[in-house]
């Protein structure tokens, strides 16, 4: 079995069979992660470059660990400024790195579409680790893995994404992938944080968080980026917390069965209270462990891809 594409750019055009294959493969690797010796020789001799043009700790460590567990050679390239500003074009940077004979590129970039652009200028397998506000497919896949572990198959489940959907790459990958798997997807947040025409993607909008809690099996709670206040999307974080914060009181009152996901890092006391973040509803640390397994699965499937 192999994936239909040699890249993982996003979940918008990823078929159901591919998503299921990645999750099934991740289950195997999850077992590897529980062994005393957590390393397999699958990608020995393959070189993976982690190109991070934007700050990231968790995603980068997760990818790096997944690569090491698979015995790949790993190079890290991190810069918070685009190379364009240093006088070299992005294309030249990539061409130079590729000339060093590498096999796969994991890329995080502040601009949407950069992974697509990379496929046009590079022959390596490209894995999107987050591009602008576009997609973050590995995060969404680990979310699906975690939900299915807890609740069984996603088909027919109701999942709501709460928070700043407009500026979230996690939201878009979740929407596309969940729909492919047959789940019902909704979003919840003030209209300033909901992108225009999202309902045309088949997504329901909840204005009130209480309704979202009541009507869903899972809430995927997005981080409220504190700097967004300046953009005017919300008056301040206290007001956001008051009306949209995920609290134990709300969960107990409206849906004690609900499952809470959060892609991290958490702003405790803003989008979610500590009580919820550390409590029985959440799968947050489970998501982090599953993230390594999902990334191992993707690296393995693309690294051994026939094309």
């Amino acid at each position: 079995m192999s994936l239909s594409s040699k890249h993982l750019l996003g979940l918008r055009n990823t078929p159901r069979e591919d998503i299921e294959l990645i999750i099934d493969t991740a289950k195997t690797f999850r077992e590897v992660l529980e062994r005393p010796i957590k390393k397999v020789p699958t990608l020995t001799g393959k070189t993976v470059v982690n190109l991070f043009f934007e700050n990231s700790t968790r995603t980068r460590i997760s990818f790096e660990l997944a690569q090491k567990r698979l015995s790949a050679d790993t190079i890290n390239f991190s810069t918070s400024t685009s190379s364009t500003k240093k006088g070299e074009t992005f294309k030249d940077t990539i061409k130079n790195i590729e000339a060093m004979k590498i096999d796969m590129i994991v890329v995080r970039h502040q601009s949407a579409g950069v992974p697509d652009f990379l496929t046009r200028i590079s022959n390596a397998n490209i894995i999107n680790a987050g591009d602008g506000r576009h997609e973050h497919p590995t995060q969404a896949l680990l979310d699906f893995f975690s939900i299915e572990e807890k609740l069984g198959k996603l088909s027919g489940k109701n999942v709501c994404i709460v928070g700043d959907v407009s500026h979230s790459r996690v939201a878009l990958s979740n929407i596309f992938g969940l729909q492919t798997l047959g789940a019902n997807v909704s979003v919840c947040g003030p209209a300033t944080m909901i992108p225009r025409n999202i309902e045309k993607l088949g997504v329901k909008i909840y204005q009130k968080v209480e309704d979202a809690i009541r009507r869903n099996d899972v809430l995927n709670v997005l981080r409220i980026q504190l700097e967004r206040e300046a953009g005017g999307g919300i008056p301040n974080v206290n007001e956001y917390h008051k009306y949209f914060g995920i609290t134990s009181e709300r969960l107990e009152k409206y849906n004690p069965e609900i499952v809470i996901l959060h892609p991290g890092p958490i702003n405790r006391g803003v989008e979610i209270t500590s009580e919820v973040a550390d409590g029985p509803y959440q799968l947050i640390l489970e998501q982090v462990t599953n993230g390594v397994a999902i990334r191992m699965a993707i690296l393995y499937l693309l690294g051994t891809h026939p094309n």
Binding site: K91, A112, G113, D116, N197
Partner: protein, 426 residues
Amino acid sequence: MKYLLKNLQIIDPTLHINQISDIIIENGIIKKIAENINPSDDVKTIEFEKTICTLGFFDMHVHLREPGYEQAETIKTGSDAAAEGGFTAIACMPNTNPTIDTSEVVESILKKSENHIVNVFPIGAVTKGRKGESLSPIYEMHESGAVGFSDDGVAVKTANMVKLALEYSKLIGTPLIEHCEDESLFGGSINEGTISTELGLPPIPSVAEELTIARDILLAQYTQGKLHIAHISTKNSVDLVRNAKAKGLNVTAEVTPHHFSLTENSLRSYDTNYKMNPPLRTEEDVEAIIEGLIDGTIDVIASDHAPHAQEDKEVEFVQAPNGIIGLETEVGLALSELYNKKKLSIEQIIEKLAINPRQILNIEIPQIKIGNKAEFTFLIPDKIWAVNLSQSKSKSKNSPFDKKLLTGKAIGIFNNSKLYLNGEYV
């Protein structure tokens, strides 16, 4: 030099002419228009087939990039592209470096464009440095040859400065050409809507354009000034201009070929050749624009020819500059999408590409009659051809239309005593 051009369908809507004739041109002047003129030894004779000869086309919205950005285009290469695209004259925008905001820059552009088959008419900046703070020397630049005024690339910053520009330019009768876009609503890369949501690209709301058009129309009404809206792109914008015209205001509008032939759906590839400002809009907007072209709300087709060097355009989508080259595909797109799809008659095409731009800029129309300067565009409206960017005369190749099949082509021009036909001077 004496030319005999045989078997042309001569169309001049201003004189209500549509007839098959031969033409004799001597030293650039029309000497004779008649049927079956016999060739003689001292005359260069060209036999045409199924070819329309009409008023030389005029593109009133071109970025020539010189001075300052010669790596993307020069006055020479841009003029060559205009000739290839079937234009005898173009007006060039002032967002150069230095800005066209003094008569010295106007004169230097005119000097550099001398002796070319294509005439270049500079458009001056409305405000000094296009900063929106104080008027540039409009009168003086007009005397040096500037035919209109614009801060194109951005809208004139404040309502007060628009008011002053509309009032002051009454002295010379030139239009204020506005790039309409509210600064506070701007900052995105593509039209706000389903596609921007799906692609996660920062959005530009259509209302950013419409608000500024509404502002400027109200100011044109208040001052009774002369306003031309550049590259209109939304349904509401078309409605605003239609209402202004119904009130009898001196308001005109133009559209680019990409805004009547492409929609935001093309952006799914993240190809920066589809990144423009105003951005590509929805199907509904395109329909409204074609409706506006049909009913005369939109007066002019203009390319917004915006060359960018490959290294500047081949970057991350958000970082890429806006705009595409358009001079060589404009007539083909107009004939394919509007004439051959039976939206506009050939006379309407000629109005929007030759007559109306000159009327707006107060430039004499080169009517096809004996004794006048010969300034023609030659068209084969049913010629099927494929765009080939590698053959483009422009110094830049940023266009989404490479390899596209078009029906209808400008095969050449006659101007300034020169004949350019099928890619060469004859």
